[in-house]
Each structure stands twice: as C-alpha cells, then as structure tokens.
C-alpha cells in the first residue's frame, strides 16, 4: 500500500511540476517521462507484492489506507485486494508503455496545443484510474470514475481542430455519463441496503435475489456502456480513432476494461445473482463478440477496426464472466473459477496486445498520414519493426498458439466445456452456444487480422498515384521507422505477449488470485494444478512444433544453398500489366464473409459499374452500418431532440400565458390536495 501511495504522490507532484513548467516543452516532457517510469515502477511493485502473497487468508486484502469521513456518505478509503492488484498490474504496464510512446509521439509535435497540459492530464488519468481500481468506498469510486471520464474526454479531444474529433468526444462523454447514472443508482441501492457506502460492509450484506437482479441490470448498463457491450458501444468506434494513438491504446486497454472491473467488483459484492443474469450476460457477450468482429471486418480504417476488435474481445471476456456467473448460480464452483480466471486473464492479455496493436497502428498512421487501409500496403519492408510487432499483436489477438491470447481463450473454452460437463440441460445449451460463438469469433478475428496485416504490410502499396513515385511504390524518404521511444514500449508489450504465451503459469496463477477475490472462496490447489498443468503440456506441444520448424528450416537452408534461387515479379497468371491497384483490398478481402452475414449486418456496396464493353472506370465502395447506432441511438436522440423542440411553445413569450400557468397550477394543486 505504501508503495502505491508513493507512486500516487509522485504522480501528483510531477503533474503539478509539469503544469508549472508547461511553457518549456523539454522540461515538462522530461519530468513526465521520469515520473511516469518511477510511478509505474512503484505501482507494479505494489500490485505484484499483493498478487504474490502466499498467505491465503480470505478475503485477500492488502493493507488499507483510510481517511475518515470528510464528506457525507463518502470517505477516502482505499485498499488493494487481489482483484485490484490484477487490474493494477495490467494498468501500470500499459500506462507505462503508452506514456513512453506518447512522449516519443508528441516530442516532435509542432501544433499549437500545449503538450505539457496533455502530459499533466495523462498523469491525472493515471491517478484517477488507480483510485477507481483501489477504491473501497462507493462514493470515492464514483468520484474517481467521473473524473476519469472527463479527463479522458480531454485527452481524446487533443486534436480538437477537426469536427469529427469533437463529435466523437461529445459522444463519448454523454454516453459514459449517462451510464454513470445507472451506477449511481446501483451503488446507492447497495449502500442503502448495507447501511454504508464502504465495499466491506456491502460485501458482508446479503442481497435478496430480486434486488440482486435489479443491481445486475443497472451494473450491466452502467458498466456495459463503458465496456462497450454491443447495443451500448456506439461511442467506442468513434472515440478510438479520434484520440491520439497512445490515448487510444490506454482507452482500449484500460478505460474500457474498467467496465469489466466494475462488473467483477459488483459480483464480488453481491455474489449471488439469479441464473438468468448470467445467461443474459452470456448472450450479450456472444452478441458483442460476434458483432464486434463482424463490424471490424467491414471497416477500412485501421483504428476503427481495432476499436471494433475491442468490442469483440470484451465479448470474449464477458463470455468468461457469464459462464462464471452461471456456474456460480448452479453452485458449480469449478466452472465459476475457471470462467472468472479466463475473463481476468483475457482482460490482461487484451490490454497488452491491443495496446501493442494500437501503438503500432499509430506508428503506421504517423508515417503514412492516413488511416485508410486501402491506401496502404507493402509497409513491411519500409517499417520492419512496426510490421513485426503488429504481426505479433495480430497473432496474439487471434488467440493463436505461442502467444498469450491463446492461453486466455483456452481458459474460457475450458470453462465453457466444463460447463457442458457440469451443468444441466439448460446450462449445456447456453455453454455450447457460447462455445460456438467463441469459435466463430476466433475464426472471424483470424480472418480480420489476416486482412489487416496483409493489406497494410504485405503486397505492394495501394495508395493513389499522387502519393508515390513512378514505380508504384512509396518513396522511401516518406516513411521512416520511429525511434526507440516509439519502438521500446511496443517491444515491451510484444515481449509480454510472447512471455504470456510460452510461460503462462504465472499469469494464470495471478488470475486465480483475482478470482478468489471475486468469489471470496478459496480455490482448491487441485483445481489450480488441473488448469495450469495442461497449459504446460500445451507449451510442450508448441516446443515440439518449434523443433519440427527448426528441422524444416535447416533442411530448407541446406537445399537453398544447393539449388538456385531466383527473384522475379509476382506471377500474374498470364495477365499482362498487373498493377498494384489490382491487389485485393481490405474491402474485397472481407466481402465474402460479409455477404454471408448480410442478414445480420447492414452491409452496403455502393458503386457504379459501367455497362459498356470496355468500361473506362468503375468504382465500388462497401460499408457496414452500425445497426445499434443508426437504428437505435440516432432515432432515439432524434426523438429526444424533437420532443424538446415540440414543447418549446411553453415559453411563448406572453406574460398572460405565464400567469395562466400559475393560476392553472394553483387550481390543479387545490383540486389534487383538497378534494
């Protein structure tokens, strides 16, 4: 705890220092960098020290820090339990990486805005997120939560010259703020029931099932908006592309995850929910997962694509949570433990690889000055570092073996399959549907990332003629790899991806620690072994694959030495004048699958195809409309606005009418109260 407080005070002091020196760019940036490293270091240390605790006294707690009742209901009461520690771990890793990247990213920023203020806000964001994670008082939690929303709003709208960024920021702000009202009501109900706004007392309180269901619905909406569950996700695909890269990484890696954290916290507090809550969560998770990845397939802008993938991964995480809840409702704790652990681990993994992907996407955008994938291509040769790191990120996010995504998806699968074994018919139906959904999500994600990686980095460049030299390639001067400040954080994240995939035991153990904090139950040692040992076996399979790979590579090397190798143009199957414009684009790559799912999506292909024999030009454009945005929320906003416009006659401007209101209301009250 002391370590965390040190880290917080470093952040507070340094953010003040940054503000003080914000006129001088160098000093503020320097202060930012070193304080960030120091604070994150202390923070990680504190988180790890809690996670590594051997003593399993339940409930798992660190030492608390408490300042008694300064305001009614609320008090400054923080403490790290394993759940907080787990999230702190991922949060500090990612904020360190994103922060260093941001330092490198903004160092040569020459715009008019003051980067010092931006850095200070970044520190502030770290502080409030830490507070959200360690708060043990609902009011403190809500305060930190709200401040976080607003601080991140200002970080998102860093480039607020453009209209779209402002709109995205506004959308983010209002949707999350609307969610906050659900949370307010939820925590207040808990508080009223427990007689205190402290989490400790709430945890000790028994909630009736009906009330638990109400709380769950409120939490689902309130935290779901932040987490980006599918009907509520509308802010997400707008906010991520609008924000500066390191902020999008943080947004997707941590801020969105706080919704998950909140849900877990509520589960830790309320514990017993009716079965249908878990089922609902599972269904919504499946919809989010599949929907998110389908929308991602339809995107041509890289950051938007990644944003929709966040929704997908939130879906996977929530699948774990949902099966955990169902298992808990059935009193099948094995299922619950593995489900929660899978959700936790995937949260961590997603933060890492999505951070990596966003940062490398940012580097790509930084170099090419466009986010449109259909204008990229062939960047692997020009940006080898970024390309390799993006590849690692892609492999991880698809959950392919060797990388950390596999481990957590495996846990979720495992939980679902255990669900198939341990539950009754009803439970089996839902868990197997969830398995299908998860499989579909996995497959589609692989499709989507082959598309993303292939279209961006492979092939040759597809940008329009004006942008490039005569050979149809970008002139190499344009595109330069970022320096160590940009590369370093990405390498760190990539290393964690690989480490998490090859040596999963530690992270799984940490996830179990978090699970104990959620359920409040001790996980039997046997179960831990039963989960971790298979993963170690999986590593053996992979190492076997590695051996085979090296043998194959040796053979190949040997043969290549002895037989000639020739370089030519790509074989064009006999077509002449194969131009780089004829390559498969992102749109064309995703078209078959989108056509298959067109009943579930609003998938549009617009274009003009000339009917002549020798068409001079044709153009095609495909787009995927966000159903919940265009069919649910836009009409809703429209109705709200329309309604308010319809009622404007109330303020007609005539004094006489106003006096009439007074009179009429008087009569109404008299009639109501006296007759």
């Amino acid at each position: 705890m002391a370590l965390l407080l040190i880290s917080l005070s470093i952040l507070i002091i340094s953010s003040l220092l940054i503000l003080l020196f914000c006129r001088s760019k160098e000093i503020s940036a320097c202060v930012f960098l070193w304080s960030l490293v120091a604070a994150c270091g202390f923070g990680l240390w504190s988180a790890l020290s809690v996670l590594c605790q051997k003593a399993m006294s339940l409930p798992l707690t660190g030492v608390d820090f408490r300042v008694h009742g300064t305001i009614p209901l609320g008090e400054f009461y923080i403490g790290i339990d394993a759940l907080s520690a787990f999230f702190l771990l991922l949060f500090f890793i990612l904020s360190l990486a994103a922060g260093i990247y941001g330092y490198g990213y903004l160092r040569d920023y020459t715009g008019q805005r003051n980067t010092g203020v931006h850095f200070a806000l970044y520190h502030l964001l770290i502080i409030v997120i830490t507070l959200v994670l360690v708060a043990k008082n609902a009011v403190l939690f809500l305060v930190a939560w709200e401040i976080m929303t607003f601080v991140s709003y200002f970080l998102i709208t860093f480039y607020n010259e453009s209209e779209s960024v402002r709109k995205a920021g506004y959308l983010y702000l209002i949707s999350t703020h609307v969610g906050v009202f659900c949370l307010l009501v939820m925590f207040l109900i808990m508080g009223a029931q427990a007689g205190s706004m402290n989490f400790d007392q709430m945890t000790a309180t028994q909630f009736p099932l009906a009330l638990a269901a109400l709380l769950f619905m409120l939490a689902f909406v309130g935290f779901g908006i932040k987490a980006g569950f599918i009907p509520f996700h509308i802010w997400l695909p707008h906010a991520h592309p609008a924000a500066p890269t390191h902020i999008s990484a943080l947004l997707s890696g941590v801020v969105v995850k706080l919704g998950i954290y909140g849900l877990m916290r509520v589960m830790a507090i309320v514990k017993d929910f009716p079965l249908w809550c878990g089922v609902l969560l599972l269904i919504m998770a499946a919809i989010s997962g599949v929907g998110g990845v389908l929308y991602a397939l339809g995107q041509h802008e890289i950051k938007k694509l990644l944003a929709y993938h966040s929704i997908e991964n939130i879906g996977i995480i929530t699948l774990g949570l949902g099966i955990g809840m169902i298992g808990h409702a059935y009193h099948q704790e094995t299922v619950a433990f593995i489900g929660y652990a899978g959700a936790l681990l995937h949260t961590f993994n997603h933060a890492v690889f999505k951070g990596l992907l966003f940062l490398s996407a940012g580097s790509v955008i930084h170099c090419t000055h466009t986010g449109d994938m259909d204008h990229m291509g062939g960047l692997f040769k020009l940006l080898p570092w970024t390309g390799h790191l993006f590849l690692i990120g892609s492999l991880s996010i698809c959950g392919l073996p060797l990388f950390n995504g596999f481990i957590s998806e495996w846990l979720v699968y495992r939980a679902l399959l255990e669900g198939v074994f341990h539950l009754d018919v009803f439970g089996i139906i839902f868990s197997s549907l969830a398995i299908v959904a998860l499989a579909l999500v996995g497959g589609l994600a692989a499709l989507c990332f082959t598309k993303a990686f292939g279209v961006i980095f492979l092939g040759s460049n597809k940008s329009s003629e004006g942008h490039q030299g005569k050979e149809g390639r970008l002139s190499n001067i344009d595109i330069k790899e970022g320096d160590l400040m940009l590369r370093g954080p990405m390498i760190l994240l990539a290393a964690i991806c690989l480490w998490g995939g090859l040596f999963p035991a530690n992270m799984v153990y940490f996830a179990f620690q978090g699970t104990q904090a959620i359920t409040g139950l001790q996980i039997p040692f046997v179960l831990k072994e039963a989960v971790i040992n298979p993963l170690l076996s999986a590593t053996r399979v992979l190492s076997f694959g590695g051996v085979i790979f090296s043998v194959l590579a040796l053979v190949r090397d040997f043969l290549v030495l002895h037989y000639p190798v020739r370089l030519t143009e790509t074989w064009s199957c006999g077509y002449v004048k194969l131009s780089h414009r004829m390559q498969y684009t992102a749109s064309s790559f995703a078209r078959p699958i989108l056509k298959i799912f067109r009943s579930a999506l609003v998938f549009r292909v617009e274009g003009k195809i000339s009917k002549e024999y020798f068409p001079a030009w044709t153009s095609l454009k495909s787009s995927v409309k966000d159903v919940s945005e265009s069919l649910l929320f836009r009409p809703l906003f429209y109705v709200i606005k329309k309604f308010s416009r319809k009622l404007k006659w109330i303020q007609s401007g005539h004094t006489q009418t106003y006096i009439l209101y007074v009179f009429l209301f008087l009569v109404i009250l008299l009639v109501w109260k006296l007759i």
């Binding site: 404007k648 109330i650 303020q651 007609s652 401007g653 005539h654 004094t655 006489q656 009418t657 006096i659 009439l660 009179f663 006296l674």
Partner: protein, 214 residues
Amino acid sequence: MNVWLDAILILVVILGLFIVASTRLGTMIKIFSWQSLLLGCVPFLMYAQNMEFYIIIVSLVAIVLRGLIMPYFLFWAIRHVSIRTEIRPFIGLGATLLLSGLSIVSSFLLASKLVFPISISSDMLIPSSFSLIIMGFLLLVGRTKAISQVVGYLVLENGIFLFAILLLRKMPLLVEMGILLDLFIAAVVMGIVVNHISAEFNNTDTTALATLKD
C-alpha cells in the same frame, strides 16, 4: 349593520364585474378607485362595535393609497399613451364576463367548503374576496394592455385586502402597514415600468412584449 355590509360587498363584486366588462382604460381606473373606496369602508362597518385606533389608521391608509393616490398615479402613467381602449383582448369581453360569473359561483362553493374557525360578521366576505381575486387573474390573463394588467393586479390585491380585513385584529400594525406599503410601491413600480414601456415601444400593448421566448 350586516345588511349594509352585505350591500357593500355585493357592490364591490359588481364593480369588479364592471371593471372586467369595460374596455376603456380610464373607466377601468375610475371604477377601481370607487371599488377601493368602498373596500376602505368595510372595516368601519365590520368592527363598528369595538373600533380600535389602528383599525381606523389601516382603513384610512388603504382608502387614501388605493382609492386616491393609485388612480391618480395610473392616470399619470397613461397620459402619454395614445390608445386608451383595450382593442383586442386575449379573452373576449363576453367570455370574460361569463368566466367572472362562474368565478363568483365557484368562490361561493369553495367558501362553503371551508369553515372559518371563528364566527365572522358576514358570510359574504370570503366569497367576494375570492371572486375579486379570480377576476384579477382574469384581467391579468385576458388583457393585452399593460395598464389593464396593472389594474387586474390591483383588483387581485383588493380581493386579498378584503380577506385581510378579517384578520385585522390579529396582525400587528407594523406588518399590516408594511404589507400595504409594499403593495403600494409594487403598483408604483409597475406604473413606472409601464411608462418605460410606453416610452420605448410607443404603446403599452404587451403583445409586443413577447420577443423573449424559446
């Protein structure tokens, strides 16, 4: 004695009806002046048996302020206004009269429901006070000229004063006088604002005063 009191009260209400029915601003003010004078006499009749010094004072002040100074001041306020008739009220004259009639009936009904805790000299007093109040409201809501609204407000005030007479003994003099003075100043301020309006807008038609809206 009660007969006289009842007669005066009936007269007051009828004068109220006259105000509601008249379109000429000057006439309205004059009738209002008469009404106020009559109201000023009510305390004398009511408390004839045990007259006290401060009741006389309050009544006299009311008579002077409401019956004499106020009409004079209102005349001053409309001196510069060219149009002196209410041309197009929001609620037509017939409708206003009808509503006033209704208001009288409903006031009697309402008053019959509410039992006054102590015995009072006339059971007409409360209903007539209520009907004056409602008539004041009708004028305020139905008329477009600022002056007629001021008159409406004053009629409403008269109704309240009528009610206050009931409580004349129970209220300290200070408060009673303060309220009277306050109401008087309120009316004066309204008059001044009307004057401002007529200076700025060249008439006192409040339909022009509807630019501030949403």
